[in-house]
Assembly symmetry: C2
Homo-oligomer: 349 residues x 2
C-alpha cells in the first residue's frame, strides 16, 4: 500500500509532517510518499535513521497557504504539494492521501485542479468531517465547512457516509446517527433538518433523531450530521469557549500566589484532562464523498497526529471505505430518488 503524505501541510511543515511520515513508515510498514519540496524534505529526513524504511519523495515546488482562496490557489498552483499529491491518487500511484493542510485547499484539490479525483459515483457533495471530544471519547461530526447551503438529500448522504466511516474505520458496529438541531423534540429543527429527518427514517441507519448543541460533548451519538455552515459555527464556538475558559482560569490563578501553588499541584490533572480532549490521538478525519481515501488533520498537528492520520488512512483503505460508500449510496439512491421527488423533500430552495 502507498500513502501519499502532503509534506507541506501543517503549520510547522515540513518538520512535523516528515517526522510523522517517518514514524508511520516504521510503525505500519506501508510506503509513505512524501510530496513537497525535495530539498526541504531531504533535510528533514536526514535527521532520522530511515534505512530500510518504505519512504519515497515526489517533488512539488509550490504550497497552498492558509490565506489563499482554496480553489483559486489550486488552479494557480498546479505544482502545489496538495495538487501533485492528489494527482498520485488520481493516477492510481497511491491508495490514500493525508494532509495537515487547509481543509478548503484539500477539498479544492480533490474536486478541481490538475490532480482532482472527483466524487464517488452517486455522491452529490463531499463533506469535511471532524472528531468532537466528549467525556468518554469522540463523536464524528460532518459537514463542518464544505457546503454552506445544503439540501436534505445531501445531508442524508453525509449520514450514510459518516456511518460507513464509523463502522469501517472507527470500528463502531452499529453507529448511532443524529441530526444537529435546536432541540431534541421531533417538532424542532429548521426546514432542512425536518426534511432530512424524513429521509433518514427511510434509510438503513441507526438514526436516533435530533441532538442539541449541548449534546455534542455528551457522546449521545456516534455520527452527528449538519450542514457545513452550522457545523463550522459549532466546532469553532466549541474551540473558542474551550480556549476562553482555560485562559480565564490561568489569568485568575496567576493573580493569587496560593492558587499558583494549587495550579502546580493540580497540573497533572489539567494535563490528563487535556489529553482526553486531544485530537492528536485521532490524527485526523476524512474528506468524505471524494473518490479516494483522503484524511485531513489539524494544521497544529504534531508528529504523533500525522502518524495516526496515516494509520487512519491505512485502515480506511484496508476496509474498502470508498467501495462501501459507493455501494451504500447506490443502495440508498432508489429510496432517496423516490423521496426527493415528493414535494416535502424537495430541498430548501
Amino acid at each position: 500500500m502507498r500513502i501519499v503524505l502532503d509534506a507541506m501541510g501543517s503549520d510547522h511543515a515540513p518538520e512535523v509532517d516528515v517526522e510523522g511520515g517517518v514514524r508511520a513508515a516504521r510503525r505500519f510498514g506501508q510506503e509513505v510518499v512524501l510530496v513537497g519540496r525535495r530539498d526541504a524534505i531531504e533535510a528533514e529526513l536526514a535527521k532520522y535513521d530511515t534505512a530500510g524504511l518504505p519512504l519515497s519523495i515526489v517533488h512539488a515546488s509550490e504550497v497552498v497557504t492558509m490565506d489563499e482562496h482554496p480553489s483559486q490557489a489550486v488552479r494557480n498552483k498546479p505544482d502545489a504539494s496538495i495538487v501533485v499529491g492528489m494527482g498520485q491518487l488520481r493516477e492510481g500511484k497511491a491508495d490514500a492521501l493525508v494532509s495537515m493542510g487547509n481543509s478548503g485547499g484539500v477539498l479544492a484539490a480533490a474536486v478541481a485542479g490538475e490532480g482532482r479525483i472527483g466524487r464517488i459515483p452517486g455522491v452529490q457533495r463531499p463533506a469535511i468531517s471532524t472528531v468532537f471530544p466528549h467525556m468518554e471519547g469522540f463523536s464524528f461530526l460532518l459537514d463542518i465547512g464544505a457546503n454552506t447551503d445544503c439540501k436534505p438529500d445531501w445531508l442524508a448522504q453525509f449520514a450514510l457516509m459518516g456511518a460507513v466511516y464509523a463502522r469501517n474505520v472507527l470500528h463502531i458496529a452499529n453507529p448511532r446517527v443524529a441530526l444537529l438541531s435546536n432541540g431534541e423534540e421531533e417538532i424542532k429543527g429548521n426546514r432542512l433538518v425536518q426534511e432530512t429527518r424524513e429521509l433518514l427514517r427511510q434509510l438503513h441507519l441507526n438514526f436516533i433523531g435530533n441532538v442539541e448543541g449541548k449534546d455534542l460533548p455528551r457522546g449521545l451519538a456516534d455520527v452527528i450530521v449538519t450542514d457545513g455552515f452550522v457545523g463550522n459555527v459549532a466546532i469553532k464556538t466549541a474551540e473558542g469557549v474551550a480556549t476562553m475558559i482555560l485562559s480565564l482560569l490561568k489569568s485568575e490563578i496567576r493573580r493569587r500566589p496560593l492558587a499558583v501553588l494549587g495550579g502546580l499541584l493540580a497540573k497533572p490533572a489539567f494535563k490528563a484532562a487535556g489529553r482526553r480532549l486531544d485530537y492528536r490521538e485521532y490524527g485526523g478525519a476524512p474528506l468524505l464523498g471524494v473518490n479516494g481515501v483522503v484524511i485531513i488533520g489539524h494544521g497544529r498537528s504534531d508528529a504523533l497526529a500525522v502518524e495516526n492520520a496515516i494509520g487512519l488512512a491505512i485502515t480506511a483503505v484496508r476496509s474498502n471505505l470508498i467501495e462501501t460508500i459507493r455501494q451504500d449510496i447506490q443502495d440508498a439512491m432508489t429510496v432517496l430518488a423516490h423521496t426527493t421527488r415528493q414535494p416535502k423533500g424537495a430541498g430548501v430552495e
Copy 2:
C-alpha cells in the same frame, strides 16, 4: 413605573422570583407586580420585611411548564402567569414584563394567546436574545431560537433592534454589529449571511462584517446577529463545552490526592473565573421586536439575577427602548423595502 414579574417563571419559582422581586422593589423603588398563585406568592412574601415596598400581586392560577409546547400551552392556559402578566402590559397596567420562564412560552404569550402584545409596527419577526460571556465582559447575541428559518430582512431588523438595545440599555455608544458566519472573510457565509450583509451595509449601523464561532468568546463585536437555529446551536454548544471542560477537570483532579489539594488552593481562582462568566450579574436579555419591554432570564436564575433583570427592564422603559426601535425600523424600512425588491436580497426561499 410598574414592572410585571412572572412569579412562577424560574426553576425554583416562586421562591427566587419573589425574593428577587422584593430586592428589586427595595433597590429601584419602582412597583413590582408579582403575577402567579396568590397563596404561594404571599407565603414567600411573608419571609421578608416588605413594609412600605411598592409590591402588589395579580393572581394567576396556572403555569406554563418547560415540557409543554409553548403556543399550545399559552392557548390552553389563559390563566397562566405569563399570559396574565402579558395582559397587564397589553392593557397598559404595567410598563414592562420580566420572566425567568421558558423563552418559547414568553414569546408565545407575547404574540399569541389572551394577553398578547404583538409586534412593534414594522417589525417582521421578534427575536430572542442572550448575553454571551467573553474575556472582558459580554456580547449580545440574537436570534437564539425564535426563528429557525430566516430571511435577510429579518436578520437586518435583528441587527437594528440589537443595536438599539446595546445603546439604550447596555450603554454602548456605537455598538459594533457583526454577522455570525463560517469565516471572517467577505466571501464566507451561507446565502442568508451574504444577502444580509448587503442589507446591513446600507443601514446606519456600525457594521463590522463577519465573526466566526471562535470569536464569540473574544468580544470582537457588541451585537452578533444570526438566525435562531444557528444561534441556538452556538449557545448550547458553548454551554455544553463549558460544562464538559469543568467536569473533566474535576474528574481528573479527584483521581489525584495532590491535585485535590491543588484544587482547593486554586478554588478562589476558579470561583473568580466563574464569576466572570456569570450571567446572573446581567439578569436577562430582551425579547426584541414585541410591542413592549419584555426581559427573559435563565430558568436557573437566583434572586440576584431576577433583581438585575428587573433593573434592565426599568432601564429599557426609561430609555424609550420600544419607541426607539419603532423609529429605527421605520427609518430603515425605506432602505430595506427598496433593497428586498432586488433579486439579490429576495430571501432564502
